[in-house]
Amino acid sequence: MNQIVVRRIILRRIMPVLCLVAGIVVAIFCMRLRADRVASDTYYVDCSASTDGAGTLDAPWNSLETVNNTEFAPGSQILFKSGTVCSGTLSPKGSGKESNPIIIDRYGNGDKPLIAGNGASNAVYLYNQAYWEIRNLEVTNDSAQASNRRGVYVVAENIGTARYFRLINLEVHHVKGDNTKGQGGSAGIMFEVKGWLKSTKFDDVIIDGCTVYTVDRTGITSDSSWRSRPAIGRKIDTWVGWTNVVIRNNTVYDIGGDGVVVRNTTGALVEYNVVYDANMRSGEYCAGIWPWNSDDTVFQYNEAYRVRTLKDGFGFNVDFGTTGTIFQYNYGHDNEGGFMLICSPSNRTNQDAIIRYNISQNDHIRIFSFHGSTVNTQIYNNTVYIGPGQRVHIVDQEPYGMGDTGSQPVSAYFYNNIIYNAGRAQYVLMRGTTNVFDYNLFYGHPAANEPPDPHKLSDDPLLVDPGSGGAGLGMVGGYQLQAGSPAIGSGMMIEDNGGKDFWGNTVPQDAPPDRGAHQYSATDR
């Protein structure tokens, strides 16, 4: 075969194939670029525009009415112009699909677009929809008169499972609600199941990075008509637990009533939230972060402080209708009503709660407060600091109240805790309750009515540099232990202890752990 023939074969046979391959590569490359830029259905809204256009970037819609009258297809994006204000209720129609949600977001730069409800029942409202993401909006619903109203309200009614909702980086504020709570209550953000015809629940809900403030009554909450079960004193069991609910990275403050309340869920995760200045105006019994009528809820890495009043005024609360609640790695401080409430009226359920590896600093009045008939509460490896001038009940037990005077805690177990008392403290325990204290370290001023503890320690726990911040409060390195601390390796082994301490150090399962919220041995021995 001569060179000409070879050349011809290359030119005729191989090069076209190479050209085709190259063309396909370029086409794929161009398609990828294009997919990054523009989705198939993108609608633009500029409420400052003088005319109502076609929803394009050049001719945007200019009213919520137009948006609300549109049924959006899966994969649609509704983009509001940054820095603009749309008045009324945003209530778009339609649902997305798996891996193809409908997205509400902003376009342009600057302040988030504002949806101003101006006293409507809801500023943002989704009803019987699924697969929605709402991002980067400012939402208000202010009025001269308080009334039943919400900022963002997502409702499912008689539809089975309403799936996939994302509320991301919303700023919800100035919601002038009233003091109604529970179903149809006033709130900044609320998910609710209604109806009685078909068992209905939410699945795959994430509320992440939202700021909620100056809201009456509740910051972030949920409720359901499918909530009846013996755990809340109802004979008929119609309870349907919502699944895959995550409330994460939210900041909630200046709230009339409760901060973050999780209802009707199973296995919900509430983490990395900050709640402060809650219960500012309701005059009712409210707390910072808590579950009701939910099972196996995990609360972790949250901070709650300055929750007001003594009704209840706790940073955290395990309320009734709950089984298997875990509070771990949380930080409460300066809460007026106390650190942690565990409560249940007679004939309701509050059982198997675990409160571990948390830190309480300068919470007032009550650290661990039991109201009513709670069962098998385990409180271990927490570190509590009671500062000078504080007068608290370290453990406080009493009937549920509100006429339920016969109730009392059934059983509570306190292991491996460090109580650092620089103030005045006492224990108020109820006779007839099984209270077990073991392997705790009580340091500082002796507390009145301190219960017997077979393996009690009362030596200085040698927290790192205590007192450096003034009056014993500013402890460098938090409440970590130093070498030689009697807390090191002297705790009681606890099965399924979560595997790590407040700082993320591994806690041994096969050797005595340290007392308190710090596992010194894992990192420093």
Partner: protein
Amino acid sequence: MYHDIVSLSNQETVMKRKESGASRWALVGLAVILGSVLAYALLWLKHEPVHAPLKRIEAGMSAPDFGLSSAQGDAYHLAKLKGQVILLSFINSRPLDASLSTPDVSRNQIVFLKSVAQQYASRGVQVLLVDATALAGGEQPDQEALLNFAHNWDMETIPVLMNSETTVREYGISQVPTTLLIAPDGRVTHRWEGFASAAQLAFAVQALVGLPDSSPYPAPTPSSIQEGVNQ
């Protein structure tokens, strides 16, 4: 014979034309291939992770000076902030999973940096965020994107510093978030790699500036406890 010669000549001409056309296609194909390779090479370079850290700044060491602009349009020189307590946090501003079904640790950190800023602003504590998105493998955001990021998180008082590659190297940052607490004398007192909890941040800051403003109400006494519970 003439016919054969002419025919051969025509055949060669046609063949040459075909070869010429094929050559042009070959050149176009080669150009496209080279172009594609070049485009991907450029994209690859764009996503190349930042260079290895120069030096790891630990607690006890002096914080290297830097001069960075914020997305909000202000200039920040660490040397000019001497005398203040600085909480300097290198974060990722673009989660790789936009749906957040996979959590992003930088988002966790931002919540508690905001909390510290809110509680300790009156004590002179300045929180500075440094965008180090490239460390997390994300595309480096421009100023407008970072400004929107600040708005999205309602961070009016927290500057988001940008173009930080040199600072990232000088501080020896290899993961996000990484947070450093800098004392008024310019010395680093703490370095947290990964998430730093509210309590960790608060206690370290308290050691430098004291307690934050707490509840405006006086501490109540046990005798004033009212019975009552929630729900």
